[in-house]
C-alpha cells in the first residue's frame, strides 16, 4: 500500500538545511552545536514517525522532480529503506553528541559539522531511494561529501588516503552508473519493485555481466576483497568520521546497494532461474563474501593500531551481510540485513572507545594499552560488550544475526557457510579478547590505577550503544525492534 | 576549349606562386605576390567576372600588398631572421 507523504523528503532535507545553516553561521560554537543536535533529533523524530506505518506494510512515497520519461527522482520508504534510514538517523544523534566532545579544540569544525550533516542527509537519501537512479545520485553525493571528512587532518597521509578513497569509490560509481544505464536499457525502468524488474529473456550472459558490474560497483564501498583497499587507509579521519561513516554510512550504503540489487533489481526467482541455466552469480558472491570474512579477520589479527584492527574487522563483518544476502533464503536474508544494524551498533561502540582512549591518553596502538581498563572502566566495559557481540555470544545482538545466518545457510544447504561463520567467530575472539585481557589483567606500566574517564559527551554514546547491543539481543522479538522491520522486508522480498 | 592566353596566364600564375615561395627576400616576395594577384585579376576577367577582377586588383594586389609591405617594414626583411 503506497501512501504519499512529505516525510521521506523532509528527512534528508533537514540535514541539508542544517548543513547550509552551519556553513553560514557555523563559526559560533554554541549555534553550531545546537543546530547539529536539534537537527539530528528532529530528523530522528521524522524518521521514526514513519515506523508504525512501515511495520504495517505501508510504503511512504514522495515523488520529486521527474528526470526523464520513465525515471524520476523518487523517494520511497519501504521496509528495507525504513530500516536503513532508522539506523543512520539514530546513529547520527549519538555520533553528534560524541563528535561535539571529540572535536573540541580541533581545526575547521564548521566544515566538519556541515559535511557531517550532508553525509547523513545523503545516507538517508540512499535509504529512501525509490529507484536505482535516485540511489546512484545519492551514492555519488555521499562519496563527494565524505571526501572533506576523510582528509580533515589535511596531513599528507590524510590527503593520500582521500585520493585513494576517491579513486576506489568513483571507479565503483562508474560501474554502477553503467550498470544502471544497462538495466534501464534492458527493462525500461529502474524502479525497485518486487520481485525484481529484469527478466530472463534478456539473456543469461548479459544478466551475469550486469550483476557482476553492480557487485563491482557496490563491492567497493562494502569493502569486499579485493576492493577493500581504501577502508583501512581512510582510518586517518577523525574518530567520529571513522565511526559513523566507515562503520555505518559509507560501508553500509554499499551493502544496502547490494541488497537492493539482489532483491529489487534481480529478484530471488530470477537469480535462481539464472542458476538453473548454469550461471549462479549469487554463489560466486557468496564465495567472495566468505573469503573476505576469513581474510579480513586474519588481517585484523596482524594489526597493532586499534583503529586499523577495527577497520579490518569491519571488512570481515560487512561480508556477513553480503553472505546473508547471497544465500537467497528468507532466514539468511533476515540475518544479513539485521546485521546491518547489529554490526553498526557494535562497531560504533568500539570506534567510540578507540576515540575516547586516544583523546584521553593519545594512545593508538594496542600494545600500549596495558591496564587501560583500570583507568577507564566504563569505557572498556562497553568495549567488552561489543567484543562479545562481535563474537556472536548470546545475549548480545551479534548472536541474533549469527543465528539467522546459520539457519539461512542450512536452509540453502551451504554447510561450508556455517563452518566459515564458526571459524570467523573464533577469529573474532582471537583479535578482540587480547585487547580486553590486556586492558583488565595487565597492570599499567606506571602502576597508576586511578579512574580517569573521558568527558561525558564521549562516554555517554559508548554506554548507550553498548546497552542497545544487549537490548537488541535480549528483546529481539518485540514489535518495535529492527528485527520486526527486517521480517517485514524479507516478507516483501520472498513474497511470503 | 581554353584560349591560349588563358593557358599562359595560368602558367604565369603558377610561376609567380612558386616565386613567392622561393624568394628569401620578403620584400621581393611581397612584390611577386602583388604580381600574382594582378595575374589572378586578369584570370577573373578572362573567366567572365569583371567585378571580381576589379576587387582582386584593388584588394588583393593593392590593399593586401600594402599590408604586407607595412608589416615587412616594421618587422624583418629576410625570411630566415
Amino acid at each position: 500500500m503506497e501512501v504519499y507523504s512529505i516525510r521521506p523528503l523532509l528527512a534528508p532535507m533537514i540535514s541539508i538545511v542544517c548543513a547550509i545553516l552551519i556553513f553560514w553561521r557555523g563559526d559560533n560554537t554554541f549555534l553550531r552545536r545546537s543546530l547539529s543536535i536539534s537537527a539530528s533529533i528532529i530528523k530522528w523524530i521524522v524518521v521514526f514517525s514513519m515506523l508504525p506505518g512501515s511495520l504495517a506494510g505501508k510504503i511512504y512515497v514522495t515523488q520529486l522532480v521527474p528526470f526523464t520519461p520513465g525515471i524520476s527522482i523518487l523517494l520511497r520508504v519501504d521496509a528495507l529503506g525504513m530500516f536503513f534510514g532508522m539506523v543512520s538517523s539514530t546513529l547520527w544523534v549519538i555520533t553528534t553528541i560524541y563528535a561535539i566532545g571529540y572535536m573540541e579544540g580541533e581545526h575547521a569544525r564548521k566544515r566538519f559539522f556541515a559535511f557531517f550533516a550532508l553525509c547523513v542527509s545523503t545516507t538517508v537519501g540512499i535509504a529512501f531511494a525509490g529507484n536505482m537512479f535516485t540511489l546512484f545520485v545519492f551514492y555519488e553525493m555521499l562519496t563527494v561529501c565524505t571526501y572533506p571528512l576523510v582528509i580533515h587532518e589535511e596531513t599528507p597521509e590524510a590527503m593520500k588516503a582521500g585520493r585513494k578513497y576517491l579513486v576506489y569509490t568513483l571507479t565503483g560509481g562508474s560501474f554502477i552508473l553503467f550498470a544502471t544505464a544497462l538495466t534501464f536499457s534492458l527493462s525500461g525502468t529502474v524502479s525497485f519493485s518486487q520481485p525484481g524488474i529484469l527478466s530472463i529473456n534478456s539473456g543469461v550472459g548479459i544478466l551475469a555481466v550486469l550483476f557482476a558490474m553492480f557487485m563491482l560497483g557496490f563491492g567497493v564501498k562494502s569493502a569486499i576483497m579485493p576492493l577493500h583497499g581504501w577502508l583501512p587507509s581512510a582510518m586517518v579521519a577523525p574518530t567520529p568520521v571513522s565511526s559513523l561513516l566507515h562503520a555505518v554510512a559509507v560501508v553500509k550504503a554499499g551493502v544496502f546497494g547490494i541488497t537492493r540489487v539482489t532483491y529489487n533489481i534481480f529478484g530471488v526467482s530470477l537469480l535462481k532461474e539464472m542458476a538453473s541455466k548454469g550461471i549462479n552469480v549469487a554463489y560466486i558472491l557468496m564465495w567472495a563474501a566468505m573469503i573476505t570474512i576469513i581474510c579480513g579477520s586474519l588481517m585484523a589479527l596482524m594489526q597493532d593500531n586499534l583503529k586499523k584492527r577495527l577497520a579490518y574487522s569491519t571488512i570481515s563483518q560487512l561480508s556477513y551481510i553480503v553472505l546473508g544476502v547471497s544465500l537467497l533464503t528468507p532466514d539468511g536474508a533476515a540475518g544479513g540485513i539485521v546485521h546491518i544494524v547489529n554490526q553498526a551498533f557494535m562497531k560504533i561502540t568500539m570506534f567510540f572507545v578507540a576515540g575516547a582512549i586516544y583523546k584521553k591518553t593519545h594512545k593508538k596502538n594496542i600494545s600500549e594499552m596495558h591496564g587501560i581498563g583500570h583507568k577507564m572502566p566504563i569505557t572498556m566495559a562497553t568495549f567488552t560488550v561489543a567484543s562479545l557481540g562481535m563474537m556472536g555470544l548470546p545475549p548480545t545482538a551479534g548472536f541474533i544475526s549469527k543465528w539467522y545466518l546459520c539457519l539461512g545457510a542450512l536452509d540453502a544447504g551451504q554447510i561450508i557457510a556455517v563452518v566459515v561463520l564458526l571459524i570467523s567467530s573464533f577469529l573474532n575472539a582471537a583479535y578482540f579478547l587480547p585487547i580486553v585481557y590486556r586492558a583488565y589483567f595487565v597492570k599499567p606500566p606506571d602502576g597508576d590505577v586511578t579512574t580517569d574517564e573521558a568527558h561525558w559527551t564521549l562516554l555517554l554514546p559508548c554506554v548507550i550503544c553498548s546497552l542497545y547491543v544487549i537490548a537488541l539481543g535480549l528483546f529481539a522479538d518485540l514489535p518495535f525492534v529492527p528485527l520486526a522491520l527486517v521480517r517485514e522486508a524479507v516478507k516483501q522480498f520472498f513474497v511470503l | 576549349m581554353l584560349r591560349s592566353l588563358d593557358v599562359l596566364l595560368l602558367i604565369f600564375l603558377l610561376v609567380t606562386a612558386i616565386g613567392v615561395v622561393c624568394t628569401k627576400d620578403l620584400l621581393g616576395a611581397a612584390i611577386i605576390f602583388s604580381a600574382y594577384s594582378f595575374t589572378m585579376a586578369i584570370v577573373w576577367q578572362q573567366l567572365g567576372a569583371p567585378d571580381l577582377a576589379l576587387t582582386e586588383a584593388a584588394v588583393g594586389a593593392g590593399v593586401t600588398t600594402v599590408l604586407f609591405l607595412i608589416a615587412i617594414s616594421r618587422t624583418v626583411r629576410r625570411e630566415d631572421e
Binding site: 522532480v65 521527474p66 528526470f67 526523464t68 520519461p69 520513465g70 525515471i71 527522482i73 546512484f136 545520485v137 555519488e140 553525493m141 563527494v144 571526501y147 572533506p148 582528509i151 589535511e154 590527503m159 585520493r163 576517491l166 579513486v167 568513483l170 571507479t171 562508474s174 552508473l177 553503467f178 544505464a181 544497462l182 534501464f184 536499457s185 525500461g188 | -
Partner: protein
C-alpha cells in the same frame, strides 16, 4: 506579436553586428560608455532571441526570407530547434559583458575598451548568425566573422604569448575556413544552390557523386578544427588559457560549439540521415576520434599547473563527449541514435554553462590575486569563499557528479552507447570522467585544503559585477542538473528533428 516574432532571428543578428560596429562611434567621447552600450545591445538581442524561442516552441520553426526574395535567390534565415543555442549565446553574452565591466581593465587599457566590446558583440553576432542561417554561404561568412573577432580578442592584451597563441589559432582557423568554403563551393557545383533545404532536396535528385563525398570530408575537417577534435586540437589550450578570462569563457563555452553546430547542420540538415549519402562511416570514425579526444584532453590536463590551462584541456575532453554523442547514429534506423544525440546536445548547453562558470571564477581569482598557478593559489578558499564555492560546484558538475548539470549528459551518452551497441565508448567516457575528476579534485584540494600561500593574505571577495554573473551561472549548473527535465524538454525536439524524426518523438528514456 506573431508578426513581430517572425523577424526576431534576423533582428538579433543584425542588432549584435550593427551594435558591435557602432560601439567605437557611440563611445568616442567617453570610452567607458562602451560598456553600457554593449550591455544594452546584448540585452536587446536577448529580448529578440527570447521572442524567437517563444515562437519556436509555440508555432514551430521560423523560416524567413530576407527582403522577401524567394529561393533560390534570397537568403533564408531558418530558426529551428538547434537554433535554441542562440538563447544560450545571448544570455551568456550579457553575463560576460557584465563580468567584463570590472575585469577587463585588469588586462587592457581604457583606450581599448570600445575595441574590446566591439569584438565581443561581433563574436556574439557571428555565432548567432551562424546558428540561424539557412544558407551555406552565410554559414561561411558568419564563421569568418566570429573567427576573426576571436583571433583579435585573444590578442587584445599586451601579453607576449597571446599574440603567438592567437596566430596559431588564426592559421589553423583560416585553413579550416577555407576547407569549409571549398565544401560549400563543391556542393554548389553539384546542386546549383546554396540554400540548405534546397541542397538537401537536390542531393536526393542528383545522387551521390565524388564531389559530394569530398565536400562532406572537407566540412568535417573544417568544423573539426573549430571544435578542436583530437588530431587538430593543438591550437586550443594556449588560445583559451591565455585569452582574458571573459573571452576564455566565450571561446570555451560557445565558440568551440560552433564547430558542433556546423557539423549538425551539415550532417543532419544537408546530407540527412536516410539521404543519398551514407555518411555513417564518417560518423563512426568521428566517434572513435571523439573517444580518443576525451582521453587525450583529460590526460594532458592532468599535468598542468596553470588553472586556466587545466580548464582549456578539459574543454577538449568535453568536446569529445559531445562529438561522441552526436556521432552515435545509424543510417537506416535513426531512432537508435536518439539517446546519444540527446546527450551530445544537452552537453552543448551544459558544458557552455559550466565551462564559462569555471573560466569566470578563474578570472576572479586572477583578478584578485594576480596568480594563475595552482601552487600559488593554494588556500585561497578561505579568503574568497563564494568564488571558490562556485568553482567547486562547477568542477563537480563537469566531472559529472550528480545532481549537477554535467551528470545528465554522462547518463544520456552512456545510455546512447548501450542502445547503440558500442559500450566501449562508454568505457572511454567513464575513464575520461574519472581523470577529469582527478584533476578537479586537485584544484579543490589546492583551494581549500592546503596551507594558505602567505603572499595572498590581503585578498577579499571579488567585486559584485563579477560575483553576480558567476553566481547566476552556478545556479544554472545546479538547476540544469536537478530539474533536468526543463533543459531536456527544450532539447528533445532538436535531437528528434536532427535525426529526421517528428519533433514530438519520445522513446523510452528520451
Amino acid at each position: 506579436m506573431i508578426e513581430f516574432s517572425q523577424h526576431c532571428p534576423v533582428l538579433m543578428t543584425i542588432t549584435l553586428i550593427i551594435g558591435g560596429a557602432l560601439t567605437p562611434i557611440v563611445s568616442i567621447s567617453r570610452k567607458k560608455f562602451s560598456f553600457w552600450w554593449a550591455f544594452f545591445v546584448s540585452l536587446l538581442a536577448f529580448f529578440f532571441c527570447s521572442c524567437a524561442v517563444w515562437r519556436l516552441y509555440t508555432m514551430g520553426p521560423i523560416s524567413y526570407w530576407l527582403s522577401g526574395w524567394e529561393p533560390p535567390y534570397g537568403i533564408e534565415v531558418y530558426f529551428d530547434y538547434v537554433s535554441t543555442i542562440t538563447f544560450l549565446m545571448t544570455a551568456l553574452g550579457i553575463l560576460v559583458i557584465v563580468y567584463s565591466k570590472r575585469y577587463i581593465l585588469h588586462d587592457i587599457s581604457e583606450e581599448k575598451l570600445p575595441t574590446y566590446y566591439t569584438l565581443v558583440l561581433l563574436i556574439l553576432g557571428g555565432m548567432v548568425g551562424f546558428s540561424v542561417t539557412g544558407d551555406m554561404f552565410n554559414l561561411y561568412v558568419f564563421l569568418e566573422i566570429l573567427s576573426l573577432s576571436g583571433y583579435a580578442l585573444i590578442a587584445i592584451t599586451e601579453e607576449k604569448l597571446n599574440a603567438m597563441a592567437s596566430f596559431k589559432y588564426l592559421v589553423m582557423g583560416s585553413v579550416s575556413s577555407v576547407s569549409v568554403l571549398l565544401g560549400v563551393a563543391l556542393l554548389y557545383n553539384v546542386t546549383g544552390t546554396l540554400n540548405m533545404a534546397d541542397i538537401a532536396l537536390r542531393l536526393q535528385q542528383f545522387g551521390p557523386t565524388t564531389a559530394v563525398y569530398v565536400a562532406l570530408v572537407l566540412f568535417i575537417i573544417g568544423f573539426s578544427v573549430k571544435a578542436a577534435l583530437f588530431p587538430v586540437h593543438a591550437w586550443l589550450p594556449d588560445a583559451h588559457a591565455l585569452a582574458p578570462s571573459p573571452v576564455s569563457a566565450l571561446l570555451s563555452g560557445l565558440v568551440i560549439k560552433i564547430g558542433i553546430v556546423g557539423m549538425l547542420r551539415v550532417l543532419y540538415c544537408v546530407y540527412k540521415l536516410g539521404g543519398p549519402v551514407d555518411f555513417t562511416s564518417v560518423t563512426n570514425f568521428m566517434g572513435w576520434l571523439a573517444a580518443v579526444t576525451v582521453l587525450v584532453g583529460a590526460f594532458f590536463a592532468f599535468f598542468q599547473d596553470d588553472i586556466k590551462m587545466i580548464f582549456a584541456y578539459s574543454s577538449i575532453s568535453n568536446i569529445g563527449y559531445i562529438l561522441m554523442g552526436i556521432s552515435l547514429v545509424s543510417f537506416t534506423q535513426p531512432e537508435r541514435g536518439y539517446l546519444g544525440m540527446m546527450g551530445g546536445l544537452v552537453h552543448v548547453f551544459n558544458h557552455a554553462i559550466i565551462k564559462s562558470t569555471l573560466f569566470l571564477c578563474a578570472g576572479a581569482l586572477i583578478y584578485k590575486t594576480g596568480f594563475r598557478k595552482l601552487s600559488d593559489l593554494r588556500g585561497i578558499g578561505k579568503k574568497m569563499p563564494i568564488t571558490c564555492g562556485v568553482l567547486t560546484i562547477a568542477a563537480l558538475s563537469i566531472a559529472g557528479i550528480p545532481p549537477t548539470a554535467g551528470f545528465i549528459c554522462k547518463w544520456y551518452i552512456i545510455l546512447g552507447t548501450i542502445e547503440f551497441g558500442k559500450p566501449i565508448f562508454a568505457v572511454a567516457l567513464l575513464l575520461g570522467a574519472m581523470l577529469v575528476f582527478a584533476y578537479y579534485i586537485k584544484i579543490i584540494n589546492a583551494l581549500f585544503f592546503r596551507e594558505p600561500n602567505e603572499s595572498i593574505t590581503e585578498v577579499d571577495e571579488a567585486p559584485l559585477s563579477m560575483l553576480v554573473p558567476i553566481i547566476i551561472l552556478a545556479i544554472g549548473c545546479l538547476v540544469m542538473g536537478i530539474f533536468a527535465y526543463l533543459p531536456l524538454a527544450v532539447i528533445r525536439p532538436a535531437a528528434a528533428t536532427m535525426l529526421g524524426l517528428p519533433s514530438t518523438y519520445l522513446p523510452l528514456g528520451g
